[in-house]
């Protein structure tokens, strides 16, 4: 059958118009579907005609005692509202309410969206507490369940620190073992520490020059172990000074340190058989103010021109000022601190420096007493333990990460658990 050209064109036009009509109809239908879908989605949040933005409450609200404290805290945890977990969250936040001993609930805290826990630090052991949370949107509030009544409890032992206790016990036993060993006459070796070897020489120099010895025990109080270590060394230094009939002066920045230092020097002079040579004026309080103290000590240094300066203890920003002034007056300087930030200044400006642990080892080294030497040996056992554990831990984590060996992952995790910061 042959079809004329005009008939063909009409057919094409009719087909095109039909296609356009179908496309228009399809577009309208899909737009309606999207609208109806959108309205059905919105209906999850908004009650038609009311305008309320509905939100779901939090779930699984639990109040429990905060473990290993003095009975001063309760821990709350919950799963946030399901609406809070959406990208376009309608939840504006939470209000936490607390009722004490069954009384009227009062608002305790207002929490931002996304919060899932709270630590109540304002509780007392003898009271009972109940909590609930309100989830609120722009214009709607919904309440969670109310928790069971709970009282905080006091724990006598912090079991989280069980491993810390075992490590402390291990080191303590090692110290006691070596102390007992030393007491029985077993000779314990301690390597030479250059700064301490120089003490006698430094005091001797001061005696020969007829100039005094200046001792600075840091600027911290008696609650710092570095101050205690400094005073232990002071005992030995002042004994040598008493033996040599030299002079010592010691300006301090803490009243308690003054008292302890006077006791220490007095004991040394008595042990040297020269109690008459002791005077309370050897130790004098200046001020607690850091730089006021430094100004006074610097002035003393340039006026008294000590032959020997001991800078032992806890130092801060004043370390370089003191060490440089001591250096400028030509004194032989022996310094020591456990503060890493100040050690570089002492190393740069002093003749001998006791680095960190050496300051604490000094008392044992100088006294040679079995008890102190045993303690030093016990601490070395602790260092040996640290080295062994580090090597084991590094091996475990290296093998675990490089070759994915499960047992090594377990070893690494176990070591991390034992040596955690709890």
């Amino acid at each position: 059958m042959r079809v004329g050209k005009s008939t063909f064109l009409h057919l094409c036009l009719a087909f095109s118009l039909s296609l356009i009509l179908i496309l228009i109809l399809l577009t309208l239908v899909s737009a309606q579907e999207v609208d109806s879908l959108r309205s059905s989605t919105d209906s999850a949040y908004t009650i038609p005609d009311s305008g309320l933005v509905l939100v779901a409450p939090v779930t699984s609200l639990i109040a429990e005692d905060y473990k290993y404290d003095d009975g001063e805290q309760l821990k709350l945890s919950w799963v946030p509202s399901i609406d809070d977990q959406l990208v376009d969250s309608k939840v504006l936040g939470y209000r936490l309410f607390r009722s004490i001993d069954g009384g009227t609930p009062e608002i305790l805290a207002k929490l931002p969206p996304g919060t899932n826990s709270f630590l109540d630090r304002t509780v007392q052991r003898e009271r009972k507490y109940q909590y609930y949370l309100e989830t609120f949107s722009e214009n709607f509030v919904v309440q969670s369940i109310v928790t069971a009544a709970i009282s905080p409890e006091r724990e006598w032992l912090n079991l989280d620190r069980g491993w810390l206790f075992i490590i402390a016990l291990f080191i303590s036993i090692a110290i006691i073992f070596f102390v007992e060993k030393a007491k029985r006459g077993h000779k314990l070796y301690v390597r030479k520490i250059a700064g301490l070897e120089a003490i006698d020489e430094a005091v001797g120099r001061a005696t020969e020059m007829g100039r005094p010895v200046l001792f600075i025990p840091g600027i911290n109080d008696m609650d710092d172990v570095q101050t205690l270590a400094a005073l232990t060394i002071l005992g030995r230094v002042s004994r040598t000074i008493a033996d040599y009939d030299s002079q010592i002066f010691m300006p301090v920045s803490r009243s308690l340190v003054m008292t302890a230092a006077r006791e220490t020097i007095k004991t040394s002079y008595m042990a040297a058989g020269r109690p008459d040579a002791y005077s309370d004026d050897m130790v004098n309080y200046v001020t607690d103010e850091q730089f006021g103290y430094v100004a006074a000590v610097d002035g003393l240094m340039v006026r008294e021109r000590p032959a020997t300066v001991f800078l032992l203890g806890a130092f801060f920003a004043e370390s370089l000022i003191l060490a440089e002034t001591g250096n400028s007056v030509g004194a032989i300087q022996i310094a020591g601190t456990a503060r890493p930030a100040q050690l570089p200044f002492f190393i740069a400006a002093c003749d001998f420096t006791l680095i960190g642990e050496e300051l604490f080892a000094a008392s044992a080294y100088l006294s040679g007493e079995p008890r102190q030497l045993g303690s030093l040996k016990g601490q070395d056992v602790g260092k040996g333990l640290a080295m062994s554990v580090i090597i084991l831990g590094v091996l475990a984590v290296t093998i675990a990460t490089a070759w994915d060996v499960e047992i090594m992952h377990n070893v690494h995790n176990w070591l991390l658990g034992v040596f955690s910061s709890n």
């Binding site: 810390l164 490590i167 402390a168 314990l188 070796y189 301690v190 390597r191 520490i193 008696m222 609650d223 172990v225 205690l228 308690l256 008292t259 302890a260 006791e263 309080y285 200046v286 001020t287 607690d288 103010e289 730089f291 006021g292 100004a295 006074a296 610097d298 002035g299 340039v302 006026r303 920003a317 930030a341 050690l343 570089p344 200044f345 190393i347 740069a348 680095i355 642990e357 050496e358 030093l376 040996k377 070395d380 260092k383 040996g384 640290a386 080295m387 580090i390 831990g393 590094v394 984590v397 290296t398 675990a400 990460t401 490089a402 690494h412 070591l415 991390l416 040596f419 955690s420 910061s421």
Partner: protein, 274 residues
């Protein structure tokens, strides 16, 4: 004091008065209390210069600033100790009468009786003033030393031992971001980029060996010779390099303090810079 010192002192006093006057005049349009402000800025500047003069040598102006600083600060700390420790913490827990007297709120607690312990220890410390009962002052000292040692044992065991040990557990071949895929891959992708695998491995080896060698240096009960001595020498090198870096870092901080003082002198006092 000799004649030249008197003359110098007179000149400095004159300069102070001139400076104070000029400063007060320059502040007259800006603040109401221009005379007081002028005095405070001038005295601050002169005391700063007096302390700086120690860089030349010890002199009466430095002595004046030193004694003023020591005297004022000693008095301040004594007052601070009395008002914050005794009045602020102790009296409100001891007696309602004392609290009322010092106008601080009484803080009742059934455990307040424990606050008599520091009172007794404090009084025992004052026994030092007595020649006969002076020995009693050793008891509070023994208490302080004992509690300090006990408390610090656990504190340092945690921060300086346990935490340091676990922080040194570093992988020596690779980690999650740079997994170890064999020696061939390692060398074929060798890069000196700071975030690359080579630098990560190098850093971890330095941490590991640095800590072990540092610990060996602080090992006192064995002579440092042979392999032990070699490791100990590496340990002290690691420490010295660390101290060098720390020195530079801290000096930069001190320079900023100096800049702060110079800024005060040139901007607030002399108004040379804006």
């Amino acid at each position: 004091m000799n004649r030249s010192t008197y003359i110098l002192t007179a000149i400095v006093v004159l300069l102070f008065i001139v400076s104070w006057t000029l400063k007060a005049v320059s502040l007259s349009g800006e603040v109401d209390d221009n005379i007081t402000r002028g005095f405070l800025i001038t005295i601050s500047a002169f005391l700063t210069l007096a302390i700086f003069s120690f860089l030349y040598k010890d002199n009466p102006f430095y002595k004046f600033a030193e004694h003023l600083f020591v005297g004022v600060s000693a008095a301040f700390w004594m007052c601070q100790g009395f008002w914050s420790t005794l009045v602020g913490n102790l009296f409100p827990r001891l007696s309602e009468g004392l609290s009322n007297f010092f106008m601080v709120p009484y803080q009742y607690s059934p455990y307040n009786i424990t606050y008599w312990i520091p009172v007794i220890l404090g009084l025992l410390l004052l026994m030092r003033l007595s020649s006969k009962a002076g020995w009693l002052s050793r008891w509070p000292l023994a208490f302080i030393v004992g509690t300090t040692a006990g408390l610090n044992f656990i504190r340092y065991l945690r921060s300086d031992f346990v935490v340091q040990v676990s922080s040194t557990f570093v992988p020596l071949l690779g980690n999650e971001s740079h997994p170890w895929t064999g020696i061939g891959d390692f060398f074929s992708h060798l890069s000196l980029s700071a975030s690359g695998q080579f630098m990560m491995i190098l850093a971890n080896w330095i941490i590991f060996l640095g800590v072990i060698c540092g610990l060996i240096y602080f090992f006192f009960s064995k002579e440092h010779k042979g392999v032990f001595g070699f490791a100990s020498r590496i340990g002290i090198w690691v420490l010295m390099i660390t101290f060098g870096a720390s020195f530079g870092y801290t000096v930069m901080g001190r320079i900023s303090l100096l800049v702060g003082r110079l800024t005060f002198l040139f901007r607030d006092w002399l108004e040379i810079i804006s």
